[in-house]
């Protein structure tokens, strides 16, 4: 047994740190750290900085402008990017669609759609969930009916993250109602800048606008925009989600939040003593940090399996379940360190300049993390997977 990641990976880690230290704008990092909103333009500027260094397509092959990294490099990058408080909103374009197109796309699709992602000209959203298809994704109903060289697409996508920033959507659509539900689903690329596509915001608790409803009414999509063959979407989605399995542990972001929590616990509280002098709060903070380093090492076990060519399998569900729970606990404890100021509504704050922005978004962040045990396969679905596929009950 051996814990070291090797000198090459350590060197890369130093290189990441130095780069973020020099090139990540301080005000952008401060916003992300405080949990304040980051605009599309700010995010695109940062993407361009990363792309100039060649570090935007972290899960892309080199021939398409990516880094060509393996899972270890990606994991370390994620840890360091999070530690530096670099924003990361454009996951669907960069980490999901990019690798899918490289793996399953036609040459024409790759040439047309990959460069604009790295240039930050295109922003994609992921059209998966629907009103009647949440955890049971295969029940989705958005129809795509073949008409000559086009599909005519109609239906509604729900909970679509950052669709308000997106000009394109990759969507799961139903091309056949016959056979098993999964077999009739296809993977389609839809241009959103056209009549018939309507994006409406969904505010989640605390007033955040991160998710949307996307309505598609009789929109004609060229058949060339089909990825893979008709009915391939289930296979493609499995591939797509496998790219996210280590990211779903939230290790990097949770380590960064833990650092923030440690810092806040040292500050004087309402009685002048350090906030962390409260024995119960201190015990909870110690517990979540122990949980976090334990999960980090569990992620390293999965990583070690991947690196040695063993298929890690459904243990990934453990990472997802615990990773999302730890995020929820951390943001909850952060609110507890913020006193009265942590409970304000940040979007109403323009007329109250005295309140520190460091506290002002804590409650909203806590409320935002509530979704983590619901989306991307709820905590219950993950437990079903663990019980059936690993424990065998």
């Amino acid at each position: 047994m051996d814990l070291s990641i090797g000198p090459e990976a350590e060197r890369l880690r130093d290189e990441f740190r130095a780069f973020f230290d020099k090139h990540l704008p301080k005000d952008l990092a401060a916003k992300w750290r405080a949990g304040a909103p980051v605009s599309k333009a700010e995010h695109q500027d940062w993407q361009r900085t990363l792309n100039r260094r060649g570090w935007l397509g972290t899960s892309w092959k080199k021939e398409w402008g990516g880094t060509g990294w393996g899972p270890l490099e990606r994991f370390i990058y994620d840890e360091e990017s999070s530690a530096a408080w670099a924003p990361r909103l454009n996951v669907p374009s960069i980490d999901l669609l990019g690798p899918v197109l490289i793996e399953f796309g036609t040459e024409a699709q790759k040439r047309r759609y990959l460069p604009p992602i790295l240039n930050s000209d295109d922003w994609w959203c992921q059209g998966f969930s629907e009103p009647q298809a949440g955890s049971d994704l295969a029940a989705l109903q958005m129809r795509a009916v073949r008409d000559g060289d086009h599909y005519v697409v109609s239906g509604t996508k729900l909970w679509t993250s950052w669709a308000q920033y997106a000009n394109r959507m990759f969507a799961l659509v139903r091309t056949s109602a016959d056979g098993p539900k999964q077999a009739g689903i296809s993977f389609l690329l839809i241009d959103m800048d056209q009549p018939g596509v309507t994006v409406s915001p969904i505010l989640t608790m605390g007033g955040l606008h991160a998710v949307n409803e996307v309505r598609v009414d009789d929109v004609r999509v060229p058949v060339d925009n089909l990825v893979g063959k008709e009915g391939d979407a289930w296979t493609i989605s499995k591939f797509l989600l496998s790219h996210e399995r280590l990211v779903g542990a939230w290790i990097g972001p949770s380590l960064a939040l833990m650092g923030l929590l440690r810092e806040r616990l040292r500050k004087p509280g309402f009685d002048g003593r350090p906030i962390g002098a409260d024995p119960i709060l201190r015990a909870k903070a110690a517990e979540v940090e122990s949980d976090l380093i334990t999960l980090r090492h569990t992620a390293y076990r999965v990583l070690a399996d991947e690196l040695s060519g063993r298929e890690p399998g459904p243990i990934v569900s453990v990472l997802k379940v615990r990773g999302s729970e730890i995020q929820q606990v951390l943001t909850d404890l952060l609110v507890q360190t913020g006193g009265a100021q942590a409970m304000v509504h940040p979007q109403t704050l323009t007329s109250a300049p005295g309140i520190a922005p460091a506290e002002a978004h804590l409650a909203q962040q806590f409320l935002d993390r509530r979704k983590l045990t619901i989306y991307g396969g709820s905590a219950e679905i993950q437990r079903n997977i663990i019980a059936r596929q690993i424990v065998g009950v």
């Binding site: 903070a285 390293y300 065998g392």
Partner: protein, 374 residues
């Protein structure tokens, strides 16, 4: 990065498993509690297989390439619920013996399976704070006269020698001033009994026992750090035992609920029980990760914070897994006739041993300066 046993360690783990499958079960475990000669014979067979030597480096006369070797043995013992003094004698006292005069002979005897030692220290704490509960030591010429009583000394019932912590300077509760003396059990009085988990123990009383420099283990007044280091090592090995036990309880419970039918269906069909099993698996696998990290750490620079994190995780997970194993076995789970209940007790004991969850969480926070103003 590698979290798997080496080929040799895997062989060791297999040999433990195969031997115990043939020679040890619940009935045998119970019988050996009242049959010391039979327990000693089994112990020497285990010694011949190299399991005790696996806890000592080659320089000490053992075969260990790494602390992971003994961890692998402990995992096997945990799986098969072995109630023999490997943890308290070989792991805990074995490491301390290297500081004794004539240590090579003592360790050699131990590796051969002919020497049991128990640690008489830490007062009433179940072995977590050596600054507490040391017997009194009065200076007499070049030596000391020891007097005192310890109500619970794990493994003392069949021990040949005791490592006894004595207060040679300072006051109760101070780390400085604790000295370890190696004494023969013939020179103390013992009242033997068993702990609730079946492991042997004794109440030890020492009265006006004269000890000299020859008996001293480590430096005068300086035993507390040695004992703490030995306890940290034993703590990680106890984690290994618990990991082995959890690795047994989960598939055993899964098999039970697949076969047990109520309301016309196997219990495994009920989602509420599936989720309990999933949670037990999550608890077990995450605890295993932290325990492995702490075990790997034993070969390098000591990291007591990692040990405390591991013990906290393992204690909490082991209790959860054991609780659900009993719950899902229903009435069978609480019966003494099945091993499930004995695992439940042993894992409860491991949670308490060497510091419980509260102790290790606080220790972790202290060591990492959590919530301390800069």
């Amino acid at each position: 990065m590698d979290f798997t046993y080496s080929e040799q360690q895997a062989m060791l783990r297999d040999s433990v498993d195969r031997f115990l499958a043939q020679r040890y079960d619940l009935a045998r475990r119970k019988a050996l509690m009242d049959d010391a000669p039979a327990a000693e014979a089994l112990w020497r067979d285990m010694a011949e297989l190299g399991w005790i030597g696996a806890a000592f480096s080659e320089a000490e006369g053992g075969f260990a390439s790494s602390a992971i070797d003994a961890f692998a043995v402990m995992e096997g013992f945990g799986q098969r619920l072995v109630a023999l003094p490997y943890l308290t004698s070989v792991i805990l006292c074995g490491g301390l013996l290297r500081h004794a005069s004539g240590s090579a002979d003592l360790i050699s005897l131990m590796i051969d399976g002919r020497l049991h030692v128990a640690l008489a220290a830490c007062g009433e704490t179940l072995l977590h704070s050596p600054q507490h509960g040391a017997v009194t030591a009065t200076k007499a010429g070049s030596g000391y006269v020891l007097t005192g009583r310890l109500s619970v000394v794990l493994g003392a019932d069949r021990a040949h020698k005791l490592l006894m912590a004595a207060r040679t300077a300072g006051a109760e509760g101070e780390r400085h001033g604790v000295t370890l003396f190696l004494v023969d059990t013939a020179d103390v009085s013992r009242r033997n009994y068993r702990m609730i988990d079946g492991h042997g123990a004794a109440e030890v009383t020492v009265e006006n026992l004269t000890v000299g420099a020859d008996n001293m283990v480590g430096a005068l007044d300086g035993a507390a750090p040695l004992i703490e280091a030995a306890i940290d090592r034993a703590t990680v090995m106890a984690c290994g035992e618990a990991v082995g036990a959890m690795g047994y309880l989960i598939p055993t419970t899964a098999a039970y609920i697949r076969n047990r039918e109520q309301y016309g269906a196997p219990l495994a069909k009920f989602q509420v029980l599936q989720h309990r099993m999933a949670d037990a698996f999550i608890a077990s696998e995450t605890a295993r990760s932290m325990a492995l990290v702490a075990a790997i750490g034993l070969d390098g620079v000591p990291d007591p914070a990692a040990v405390s994190s591991a013990k906290f995780q393992v204690g909490r997970s082991a209790r959860q897994v054991a609780y659900q194993a009993v719950q899902l076995h229903g009435g069978m789970g609480v019966s003494e006739a099945m091993d499930i209940s004995h695992h439940y007790i042993r894992l409860t004991m491991i949670d308490r041993l060497f510091g419980d969850q509260a102790f290790h969480l606080r220790r972790y926070a202290d060591l990492t300066q959590l919530g301390v103003s800069a």
